[in-house]
């Protein structure tokens, strides 16, 4: 079974600064995907960024980037130029590669991020 650990329950940062959220995972699989999801007070899970394990290049999406260390089983999220709208719960998630229709996401316990004006 896979596990995902987020060791930072809460973080806060000043607006416009950079913040890094940590995530580690445990798996014996070699082919998998990693995700960061954002959950604002509206409750909807919003995909922030996705990383395929077979890709060595770290994924980036505008102000969001990851540091994927496969050997260390680490997957951190860096938010640059943080904005007030980034305030939310952030969840790291793991998905083992399976035949379509048989996949599931395993989530960590989340990090509550607050951007201070």
């Amino acid at each position: 079974a896979q596990t995902v650990t987020q060791s930072q329950p809460e973080m806060s940062v000043q607006e416009a600064e950079t913040v890094t959220l940590s995530c580690t995972y445990d798996t014996s699989e070699n082919n998998y995907y990693l995700f960061w999801y954002k959950q604002p007070p509206s409750r909807q899970m919003i995909l922030v960024i996705r990383q395929e394990a077979y890709k060595q290049q770290n994924a980036t999406e505008n102000r969001f980037s990851v540091n994927f260390q496969k050997a260390a089983k680490s997957f951190s999220l860096k938010i640059s130029d943080s904005q007030l709208g980034d305030t939310a719960m952030y969840f790291c998630a793991f998905m083992k590669h399976e035949n379509f229709g048989n996949e599931k996401l395993t989530f960590g316990t989340g990090t509550r991020l607050t951007i201070i004006p």
Binding site: Q44, G101, N102
Partner: protein, 113 residues
């Protein structure tokens, strides 16, 4: 383009009752997954439906059951409700053509008293 729609948004039930939650997937999606998110926790996978069949199931008792209809919408049923079933229930949809991209709804907040 409507995203994933869940109903109702909030629900209060009494212990022992039964509840049905509903989900309409995003247009063009044919696969629906259900997750339970307890307060202060990450979502836990309940089950996934594709082609009207339950394809995979998480560690949830048989009191949790589901269904997928020909129009791809889905229902989650929970029987004999327990206080511990109080949670946010999230529905997520995707399609074979989307590279592991799930779209989530805003959930149904179920409170069992």
């Amino acid at each position: 383009d409507a995203g994933v729609t869940q109903s109702p948004t909030h629900l209060i039930k009494t212990r022992g009752q039964q509840v049905t939650l509903r989900c309409s997937p995003k247009s063009g999606h044919d696969t629906v997954s259900w997750y339970q998110q307890a307060l202060g926790q990450g979502p836990q996978f309940i089950f996934q439906y594709y082609e009207e069949e339950e394809r995979q199931r998480g560690n949830f008792p048989d009191r949790f059951s589901g269904h997928q209809f020909p129009n791809y919408s889905s229902e989650l049923n929970v029987n004999a409700l327990l206080l511990g079933d109080s949670a946010l229930y999230l529905c997520a949809s995707t399609s074979r053509g989307i590279p592991r991209g799930y779209t989530f709804g805003s959930g149904t907040r179920l409170t069992v008293v």
